[in-house]
């Protein structure tokens, strides 16, 4: 059965109103901001953002904020715990009648991949286990981007970061495989998890609309193509995201109570087309082509999609 969008069928259904206003200090061409802006069009203004330290720190660099709602800043490891505190406070205020029920706010964690895959993993696990009613928005740019692109557990095999350079010992750069945070989240069986890519705005909008029906943890993994860390021209951010999806490297999927549905089945272009666009993979092609490494990346993708069909 193919996945059907119910609310967002045409591009002109994307709400016109902006909820993340311009003037932030995020990079020109930021894929994470692109995803957040689209998500916020569904989330609206009645939101408390709980922001783990990371690139998104620059969203609300004092004394400016792009949000009409509230924004709370936490350490990299504690945003879901911060969200628990905000949620509890709202619940108590409502229970005591000091806040009308209809003025309730959504609690949304913003965390990068360094925070999500690494430092805040235990805090997130705890929050899911406690069935905390919140959204988790991970902008995944596959490195510790705010400090200049250092290796994170989300960095894929073969990418060059400042702490996993290509060297004689490791000509392919990064030797680890990208941690599968989707599956780690899914093992907790939260009501809703989805991966999104801002190049597919209707898929993204639809998933946020679907998530709104669930009470409890709603977790999102947003592909955040990063011109600064991935080394490509900022204008190519959507192109890079498109190839990530079309090569099958970034599957678009959701999991409702642990049950996975792929929301888009790509025809699967060769991964090379995606890799070639980015400076972080340039060493796989120049000065000498590293066929083994490219084949390895392709094989991992093929393996993934075989398991999907099977």
């Amino acid at each position: 059965m193919t996945w059907q969008r119910e609310t967002f069928k045409k591009i002109k259904q994307i709400p016109r109103e902006e909820h993340v206003l311009p003037g932030t200090a995020l990079c020109a061409g930021c894929g994470g901001l692109e995803a957040l802006r689209l998500a916020a069009k569904v989330l609206g203004d009645d939101v408390v953002y709980v922001n783990a330290a990371g690139c998104f720190t620059m969203l609300a660099a004092y004394p400016f904020t792009p949000f009409k709602g509230s924004w709370l800043y936490t350490t990299m490891g504690s945003a879901p715990a911060g969200a628990q505190g905000v949620r509890d406070a709202l619940d108590v205020l409502i229970a005591k009648g000091r806040l009308p029920k209809e003025e309730d706010l959504k609690v949304v964690v913003l965390g990068g991949d360094g925070s999500t895959y690494d430092m805040a993993l235990s805090s997130t696990s705890g929050a899911i286990t406690r069935k905390l009613d919140f959204y988790y928005f991970c902008y995944d740019n596959e490195a510790y981007g705010n400090t200049g692109a250092q290796l994170s557990p989300a960095t894929p095999y073969g990418a060059r970061t400042t702490t996993s350079p290509c060297s004689l010992q490791h000509p392919s750069g990064t030797t680890q495989e990208k941690k599968d945070i989707f599956e780690i989240w899914r093992a907790h069986k939260p009501p809703y998890i989805a991966t999104v890519a801002p190049r597919y705005p209707l898929d993204l909008e639809e998933k946020f609309a679907r998530a709104a029906k669930f009470t409890g943890p709603k977790l999102f993994l947003a592909l955040s193509a990063c011109p600064t860390g991935w080394l490509y021209d900022p204008g190519e951010t959507p192109e890079v995201a498109k190839l990530a999806v079309e090569t099958g490297l970034w599957p678009l999927k959701e999991a409702i109570n642990g049950e996975v549905t792929h929301t888009y089945i790509p025809k699967r272009k060769p991964v090379e087309e995606y890799l070639k666009l980015q400076g972080r993979f340039r060493h796989l092609f120049e000065p000498t082509r590293q066929d083994d490494a490219i084949r390895h990346i392709q094989a991992r993708v093929d393996e993934y999609w075989q398991q999907v069909k099977g």
Binding site: I11, A25, A28, E34, T65, N146, T228, T237
Partner: protein, 305 residues
């Protein structure tokens, strides 16, 4: 000692230029030190880097408050109060600006004390490389010429520093050739070494905090980020060719900063006060109705409110 301060926008290559200069000086037997400002280096946002060159060991560390030479990779930075490019400059400071204006024209526009020289590196890079991108080799070569380093050492330093990025040999060679053209083309102004550095130590400002009972630091305003204009980040602006637009909304959908809105006729309206010039709309427009035009100096006045 010669103290050189580089200013650029993230992605232009100011940091690498400072390294090229330092490496070239080192190759000529000088002591050299180069470092960028550590911070949130953002593409398009102001960045700075520093190179010190001396015959004797360099004991000084840190930021260069009183430079002998300032290399400005993007003329729009001069109007950006956050970039502080003109800090510590007096009439003895040499200043290089990447600009299409001559030193005289620019000097008339910006009233500052230093001795100016200019060269349009962005235009040279566009013509020679055919696309916008980092101009680190060009900046490094110009700086090398101004401080009096040799062609050969610049040539070698570019190869060493760009090889660190894993660039292919033909790309590096092309950079070397074009950089040395700039080395030859730039009008020199003498760089007088040894600016007296301020002796008084910086005062440590101890922040005063409200007690926790009063709450922590907070912004009470809502959605005030629009007060900060990021239009000055652009080197190219997207411009609409109305006849070609088919009203498809894709530019609106993909703009990360939300600076494109659709009017009632489904035509994009671009907020140039905030557009950072990423060119996503230009790349994604299916009918080529959005084109990139290079910003003219003075056209984007960076007005911090």
């Amino acid at each position: 000692m010669q103290a050189v301060r580089f200013h650029g926008r993230g992605g232009q290559g100011a940091k690498t230029a400072s390294r090229i200069l330092g490496t070239a000086a080192f190759l000529e037997g000088y002591q050299a030190q180069d470092s960028p400002i550590y911070g949130a280096e953002r593409r398009g946002a102001p960045v700075a880097a520093f190179t010190r060159i001396a015959k004797e060991p360099i004991r000084e560390r840190g930021l260069i408050a009183r430079p002998d030479l300032v290399v400005i990779a993007d003329a729009s930075l001069i109007d950006d109060p956050a970039a502080r490019v003109l800090d510590g400059i007096d009439e003895r400071t040499a200043v290089f600006v990447n600009s299409s204006l001559t030193a005289e024209q620019l000097g008339a526009q910006t009233s500052h004390a230093g001795r100016l020289t200019t060269l349009d590196l962005t235009d040279i890079a566009l013509q020679q490389f055919g696309k916008r991108g980092a101009i680190s080799a060009l900046l490094g070569a110009v700086a090398g010429r101004l401080v009096g380093l040799r062609r050969e050492s610049i040539h070698e330093a570019i190869a060493r520093e760009l090889a660190d990025f894993g660039l292919a040999a033909p790309v590096i060679e092309r950079n070397q050739t074009v950089a040395l053209q700039c080395y030859d083309a730039v009008r020199t102004v003498s760089v007088v070494a040894g600016a007296p550095q301020p002796i008084a130590p910086a005062q440590l400002q101890v922040p005063t905090y409200e007690p926790p009972t009063r709450g922590t630091a907070r912004i009470s305003a809502a959605a005030n980020s629009v007060l900060r204009e990021t239009g000055g980040w652009r080197t190219f602006r997207p411009v609409l060719v109305p006849d070609k637009c088919n009203g498809c909304w894709l530019c609106f959908a993909y703009c990360p900063d939300g600076v494109i809105s659709m009017n009632k006729d489904d035509r994009p309206v671009i907020d140039y006060d905030h557009c950072k010039g990423c060119q996503i709309c230009v790349h994604e427009c299916p009918t080529e109705a959005l084109v990139a035009e290079r910003e003219k100096e003075g056209a984007v006045a960076w007005k911090a409110k």
